[in-house]
């Protein structure tokens, strides 16, 4: 079964596309588009609104976050540092070295974090266990690199022009075909890549989405200065993420599928902290059923999709770009093949620590 997926993957990617449309507006989408244009020499169109510096940013990307599959961590650690360094040259204020705190919250997540800690330590990462106020475990991942979406947003326009990316903000002139190609104002595009959850939900058949995962609602806030949160911190049990920004405010991301994002955030804040809302934005996200990434083309469709990469998305972007171009070999190809969209989700052999509900 596994071999078949890999074979299918090679088959699809056998003929590298010349023109590629990357639908998505997250930093990962833009980085992926940039790699396809700059490293692989393709004509790339980005479909979606340009990120605004005023937007409540999407969640940040990190060079390392809790995962339990050694292969995923190995790939991220191999390609991430160089990737983030390159982004740092384009957008210096987007890249920052920081410690990341990860809070377990439940015994299940404590155990999962323990697995991650030993794995990450084996790969040379400094990951320390700290006692949490009121019990539980906190891991401090030292010296992680963070990509701040708001830091990147201000540089996107110049950078896109430099690498020759064309921006398609008016989606009316754009249509996708099931065979993986797309039509842009009467012009054929060889390959459509759905590179973020919003793009997947907008362009992909609902039946394929249902097979892959569940649609969830996220709520993101910017909180006023004076919040008292010094470091990025992730509550593993419910996915609540605090991301202190350079301007002194705090970006907060929480699951709001049940309308209880505010309560989750309040529970995760330091005791006694009065943190005020300044801005708010709702988003939808796709949680894969097994909590693991999805990369490749779904059965009976040749549209390339990426989902569930989590905060390691940018670190893994070079791998995904090579896979799209059919240039992924060996370990990378196997990793991507194992995470193809058509895989069996029940009893998945690549399942990850899913935020919220365990697979």
């Amino acid at each position: 079964m596994r071999r078949g997926f890999i074979g299918e993957s090679y088959l699809i990617m056998g003929e590298a596309p010349h023109t590629i449309a990357v639908a998505g507006t997250t930093p990962f989408s833009l980085v992926l588009a940039g790699l396809l244009a700059a490293d692989h020499g393709r004509k790339v169109f980005v479909v979606g609104d340009r990120p605004s510096v005023h937007d409540v940013p999407p969640p940040p990307s990190f060079s390392v976050t809790p995962v339990t599959r050694p292969q995923t961590l190995q790939l991220a650690l191999a390609s991430g540092p160089d990737m983030l360094r390159r982004i740092g040259r384009v957008a210096p204020d987007a890249i920052e070295r920081t410690d990341l705190l990860v809070r377990a919250g439940t015994p299940y997540h404590e155990t999962a974090l323990s697995h991650f800690r030993h794995l990450a330590t084996g790969y040379g990462q400094v990951v320390e266990r700290e006692d949490a106020d009121g019990g539980g475990t906190i891991l401090r991942i030292r010296d992680a690199t963070r990509l701040s979406p708001s830091g990147l947003a201000g540089h996107v326009r110049d950078w896109a022009e430099r690498v020759g990316i064309e921006w398609i903000e008016n989606a009316k002139t754009f249509s996708a075909r099931r065979n993986g190609t797309a039509l842009l104002g009467g012009k054929d595009i060889d390959q459509l890549v759905l590179a973020d959850d919003a793009a997947i939900l907008a362009w992909l058949d609902a039946s394929i989405i249902e097979r892959m995962g569940r649609v969830r609602d996220d709520l993101a806030y910017i909180a006023e200065r004076g919040h008292g949160v010094a470091l990025p911190s992730l509550s593993l049990a419910d996915g609540t993420l605090f991301d202190p920004l350079r301007d002194g405010t705090l970006a907060i991301h929480a699951d709001n599928t049940d309308g209880l994002a505010d309560a989750r955030i309040a529970a995760a804040l330091p005791q006694g902290a009065i943190v005020r809302k300044a801005a708010r934005k709702g988003r939808t996200r796709l949680d894969t059923h097994d909590g693991a990434p999805v990369v490749g083309t779904p059965p009976r469709s040749k549209v390339y999709i990426t989902a569930g990469l989590g905060p390691l998305d940018v670190a893994l972007a070079p791998v995904i770009a090579r896979h799209i171009m059919g240039e992924a070999h060996g370990f990378e190809a196997e990793w991507c093949g194992m995470r193809a969209p058509g895989r069996e989700m029940s009893g998945s052999t690549v399942a990850e620590i899913a935020a919220g509900v365990a697979p």
């Binding site: 605004s52 005023h54 937007d55 339990t68 599959r69 050694p70 961590l73 190995q74 919250g105 439940t106 015994p107 299940y108 997540h109 155990t111 999962a112 323990s114 697995h115 991650f116 800690r117 030993h118 794995l119 330590t121 084996g122 790969y123 910017i222 909180a223 006023e224 200065r225 004076g226 049990a237 301007d247 002194g248 405010t249 049940d258 209880l260 505010d262 309560a263 989750r264 955030i265 309040a266 529970a267 009065i274 943190v275 005020r276 809302k277 300044a278 801005a279 708010r280 934005k281 097994d290 909590g291 052999t349 690549v350 399942a351 990850e352 620590i353 899913a354 919220g356 365990a358 697979p359």
Partner: protein, 649 residues
């Protein structure tokens, strides 16, 4: 303290019936400072009457005390905060203003220009009134909620009540009426004074209409409005937070004045024309003996006439429009005011108790030789529909470049707009719009409303949103909005000046934005007009604190067997083994297992600890040549401990 800003003697009929009762003087204190007033005053109006015209200091300059800057107040002994503009002044009460920080005592007087300031340090982080985080004192339901008691709101309330609905009308001021009178009467139409009086009388007499005065809707979503009202209880003011559920709501919230953007636009003494008019009409207050009127609207000229008729001196009246035409200008000419068209305010600077107002004439350039020195600069910069509640209710907004206004768009469940908030200008149109809004609530269909206007040949349209960035250093900030969230940036420093520290306060105060902040930022070029819808949706929110939680339950994941993230970790032939560690020690879950002590790389691991106590240790192992009795090595950090495989579980 005397009341230097209170009208003394004769005033025009428009100001002859204030809400205050001059036969009932009162005395109270604010932050220990003695304040005199009259029954009917608010704390804000009494302070202004007593010459307290500054809320404090920001970026090194004073900030005008008005509805935008007035800090919440508390009554001594009671912690509940009240909006100063809604809080009645009460004889003998001791009020205190609430702010994050006040200037240090030795400097307060210096910063405060004597006794004309509350002395707040407005560079400190802003803290909104505590009512936005408060639990409701009362919950009620109404069929139709009307927000705003101007002519549109009153017409809507009557229309709904006549149709059999129970109506609640929420009004900020002590009496409904709105701003219709401010715009003056039009030939051939019933004077707005008569219209508002008639509507108000009808409302007061209608049993199905409840009017909440001194009340403000501060949140509106999901069919529920949250209102703060200041009531008198045992002769003391007290805030009351109400939650009002509604079947339908009409937002007749009107329009507020746009703040023209120029350096010094929030200095004490700079007063919006609409606010100046309301203070004069309701409380008999005028900001100083001499004033300069700068107006981009026709109605603004009325302030020159009314001020002059009240015994104040109009030093000059300027208009940025090159050729404004309005009947009010003819009156101004008849009074002999010095008028100037095509003139912008270049800057305003404080000088003792006056403002030095630099003018910039389109034709002749900056007239540095003849600045105007006046006690007050009354500005009328055009109007911005008050769409804040509309945005909170789920409506959207877009920038209307022709009007220079952020306009409400889209739809909102059970909520409709009426009156000047929709862009309607005339009294007749507002009344019709109010009535039509009730029909729209009933059947969901929007109705066209006629808004007859005088031809432009006779009455010019309002001028553009005026924006003037600082031309040099050292000027007071040119705030983009009245709440002073962000200011126009100064020109870059050159030469040796680059070594000097940058004046604070030029960066954006990152907090939720008012509609006026957003429209100012668009006009000032810091937000692109195309970003207006998304920016408004994201940044116009209630700045509530995240509250103490009832945290949602987190799944316990207590299903038996291996957790999902370990399935297939070592291939499809992986198996669980019981281990016996050397020395009966316990390992953490996740410790990696190797074939020898040299290996450390996770890629070469043959297993991992699943669970381990001092008596029972289970590992997940890859299929290898190892069998029961063989030794493997468990790595926990730098320590590597041998363990014997006992058998499969």
């Amino acid at each position: 303290m005397s009341q230097p800003n209170r009208f003394a003697a004769s005033v025009p009929p428009e100001f002859a019936n204030p809400l205050i009762d001059r036969t009932r003087p009162i005395r109270f204190t604010v932050n220990g400072m003695r304040v005199e007033g009259y029954d009917g005053d608010t704390v804000l109006s009494a302070l202004l009457a007593n010459g307290v015209v500054s809320a404090g200091t920001q970026s090194g300059f004073g900030v005008a005390l008005d509805e935008w800057s007035a800090p919440p107040v508390i009554v001594a002994g009671a912690p509940a905060q009240m909006p100063m503009a809604l809080c009645p002044a009460v004889d003998g009460a001791a009020f205190h203003t609430v702010a994050a920080s006040k200037a240090a005592a030795p400097f307060r007087r210096l910063l405060a220009r004597g006794r004309d300031s509350l002395g707040h340090d407005l560079d400190a982080p802003r803290v909104p009134g505590s009512w936005i985080d408060a639990e409701p004192d009362e919950t009620r339901h109404t069929d139709v909620l009307i927000v705003g008691g101007g002519v549109a709101g009153m017409a809507a309330a009557l229309e709904a009540a006549r149709g059999g609905s129970q109506v609640t009308l929420v009004e900020r001021n002590m009496v409904p009426g709105g701003m219709a009178v401010f715009f003056g009467k039009t030939d051939g139409e019933t004077p707005p004074e008569e219209i508002t009086a008639s509507l108000a009388a009808e409302i007061a007499a209608h049993p199905a209409i409840t009017v909440l005065v001194r009340a403000e809707v501060f949140d509106l979503s999901d069919g529920v409005a949250r209102v703060v009202q200041v009531v008198r209880e045992n002769s003391r003011p007290r805030p009351r937070v109400l939650t009002i559920g509604f079947s339908g709501a009409v937002l007749a919230t009107g329009a507020e004045e746009r703040l023209p953007i120029f350096p010094g636009n929030r200095l004490p003494g700079v007063v919006a024309a609409g606010f100046a008019w309301r203070m004069a009409r309701q409380y008999g207050i005028w900001p100083g003996e001499t004033f300069h009127l700068h107006t981009a609207t026709n109605a603004g000229y009325r302030l020159a006439i009314l001020g002059s008729e009240s015994g104040k001196t109009v030093l000059r009246a300027t208009d940025p429009r090159p050729d404004p035409r309005t009947r009010f200008i003819e009156f101004c000419k008849a009074y002999g005011f010095r008028l100037g068209w095509g003139t912008a305010i270049a800057s305003a600077r404080p000088e003792r108790s006056r403002l030095v107002i630099g003018l910039d004439e389109h034709q002749f350039g900056t007239d540095a030789n003849e600045p105007v020195k006046a006690h007050a600069l009354i500005v009328s910069g055009g109007w911005q529909p008050v769409i804040g509640p509309w945005l909170l209710a789920g409506g959207t907004a877009s920038w209307d470049a022709a009007r220079g206004q952020l306009m409400g768009e889209g739809t909102s469940d059970r909520v409709v707009l009426a009156g000047s908030v929709t862009g309607i200008a005339g009294t007749t149109g507002c009344i019709e719009s109010g009535k039509a809004s009730i029909g729209q609530l009933r059947d969901g269909k929007r109705r066209a409303v006629a808004d007859p206007r005088i031809d432009e040949i006779h009455e010019s349209r309002d001028g553009e949103f005026s924006v003037r960035a600082p031309a040099s250093h050292g000027l007071p900030p040119a705030w983009l909005g009245p709440s002073r969230r962000a200011a126009m940036t100064e020109p870059p420093q050159r030469g040796i000046a680059t070594l000097l520290p940058r004046r604070p306060g030029q960066e954006v105060d990152i907090r939720a934005a008012d509609v006026a902040d957003i429209s100012g930022a668009i006009a000032g070029g810091t937000i692109a007009p195309r970003d207006a819808p998304s920016y408004s949706a994201q940044w116009h929110i209630l700045p509530q604190a995240f509250k103490a939680p009832a945290p949602p339950a987190v799944p316990t994941h207590s299903a038996p067997g291996l957790p999902g993230y370990l399935k297939g970790r070592f291939g499809l032939s992986q198996a669980q083994w019981r281990l016996e560690p050397d020395g009966a020690r316990a390992f953490e879950p996740g410790c990696l297992i190797f074939i020898n002590t040299d290996e450390t790389h996770p890629a070469n691991t043959i297993g991992t600890i699943v669970s381990c106590t001092s008596t029972d240790c289970i590992a997940l192992m890859a299929r290898t040549e190892f069998g029961a009795g063989d030794i493997v090595y468990v790595r926990d950090g730098t320590a590597c401990t041998p363990a014997r495989l006992r058998g499969k579980v």
